[in-house]
Symmetry: C2
Subunit: 299 residues, 2 copies
């Protein structure tokens, strides 16, 4: 038995060439479905749902994302269609971004860059990250990699997850410790329970000079509340995701002191597509062999 | 028996309060020696030798630095005076700076900062550091800490030292591998054998786009040769030390593409003085108990 799998790029054709039972057909994201792919049982997608008409595929059973975040697909799923993500492809790379921005802010590389641009050699002492306390919301692929990356720096890392286990505390236990943290990292999926997790009250509990890192989704943070704290110069922040996103021209976040913005590049290093397809093709191999894919989210 | 120890700051008075046989006397660096310290057997110094007249201390036996680098003291030592440094105080902190700048350049944080200053949200893919090859000249306190800090990122690190041992190769074995490296880190003392180590031939062997990191001393690099490579856009660099230093106004290094400059802040994080005095007071305790200090450099 062979199942048609709609893939959004040529790398997908290659990745699925060796998967038993898959007949990969290339489609153009945002364009019409190809005529020989209308019988697709599976469609593989990147992040942008615009123009991807899932309801036009009558035999569709599974949407497999090439990303970890899936919040834009949940509401678009036709009844009875399953959803699986590419968890595992990007955690180490996003953790590398988290480590990069934590170190950059702790050693004030942005400030030294401004001095360099002004041609000024001004010695200054910075805080450093060694021995700091860091709380990471999210005990998944990203959180675990952040913890191992910070270990050689003797950083005291606590992960926050749904269930308490060694090294992982619950949300309820984490909140009262916000005031002790040198940095708080958001690396948790966005859903009804996490939207605006970092609201005015959450941010107010963070201590002066602490760093908020958002490596998840913009909606995890109440942007207005964060803008207020940054405007007061009370907190620092590194944001790879924003709400709204992309950040529009003239938005106050662009120019506030102590904020480092990157344009959603947490997973964007060389080899990203290959890493995502390695996970996705493994998922589809499981599915086509009659087993539920490991990363199944909705069934 | 009590020995007079001249100390350059109040933290030294505290640090030596508990050291048997030490009578610490505070002096003002660059000023005249205090009258009650002229019988000093030991003088403790920071980095700047200007106005520190060692020859005016007739009973001097040991110069103990609060820094790792000692090259400015060697030529100033009166005959028969020993020299010891504060190796071990700063290695982890300098390694943190090395990790910070390697990650910043690998994820192009300087470029994203310029986009932020221009208010532009431009997604771009960068190289990343995971799985890179890095060669570290120096297998001492800094090099060992750099190696452990890079381990969780699966970086292939080779250290270069005087004698080959597991994980450490000699200078002769290292040179032919320059072309394979994604980054080359200089964390080695400056002396006659290492001056201008990174000369035109060394830099020419490095591959296009590779990163030179100088966490040692400015004199390890032939500045003109580096300026030529950076002007051509062929290499990138992160320099905490320069030759000349401080870098004078109008020097070409300030404005070249792909270079990240910091003003000799490798060890400059909160708690630096305490870390240096912890090592120095331990050294002096050994010396005053009649044992040679571990970090003795010249005897």
């Amino acid at each position: 038995v062979t199942s048609t799998v709609l893939v959004p790029d040529d790398e997908g054709l290659l990745a699925l060439a060796g998967v038993a039972g898959a007949r990969p057909v290339r489609y153009e994201p945002g364009g019409a479905w190809p005529a020989d792919g209308l019988d697709a049982e599976i469609v593989v997608v990147w992040g942008n749902p615009a123009g991807v008409d899932l309801a036009a595929l009558p035999r569709l059973k599974l949407v497999q994302t090439l990303t970890s975040g899936v919040e834009q697909w949940r509401s678009r799923l036709p009844a009875g269609v399953a959803l699986a993500n590419a968890r595992g492809a990007g955690g180490a790379v996003v953790a590398e971004w988290v480590l990069a921005v934590l170190l950059a802010l702790s050693r004030d590389l942005p400030g030294f860059q401004r001095q360099q641009e002004a041609g000024r050699w001004d010695y200054r002492v910075t805080t450093g990250l060694i021995g700091a306390k860091v709380l990471v919301f999210g005990a998944g692929d990203i959180g675990l990699h952040v913890r191992s990356a910070l270990a050689p720096l003797q950083v005291d890392v606590k992960l926050v997850g749904r269930t308490a286990r060694p090294g992982v505390i619950t949300m309820a236990r984490a909140r009262p410790t916000l005031g002790e943290q040198d940095a708080v990292v958001l690396a948790i999926p966005l859903d009804g329970s996490t939207r605006a997790l970092a609201d005015a009250g959450f941010l107010a509990r963070m201590r002066d000079g602490a760093i908020l890192v958002n490596a998840g989704r913009g909606g995890l943070v109440d942007t207005d509340a964060l803008v207020a704290e940054l405007t007061a110069g009370r907190l620092r922040a590194a944001l790879d995701v924003t709400d709204p996103e992309p950040l529009p021209a003239g938005h106050p976040l662009w120019g506030l002191p102590g904020v480092l913005l990157t344009p959603h590049v947490g997973t964007a290093t060389l080899g990203e597509e290959t890493r995502c397809w390695a996970v996705a093709s493994q998922q589809l191999a499981e599915y086509l062999a009659g087993r539920p894919p490991t990363n199944l989210i909705v069934d």
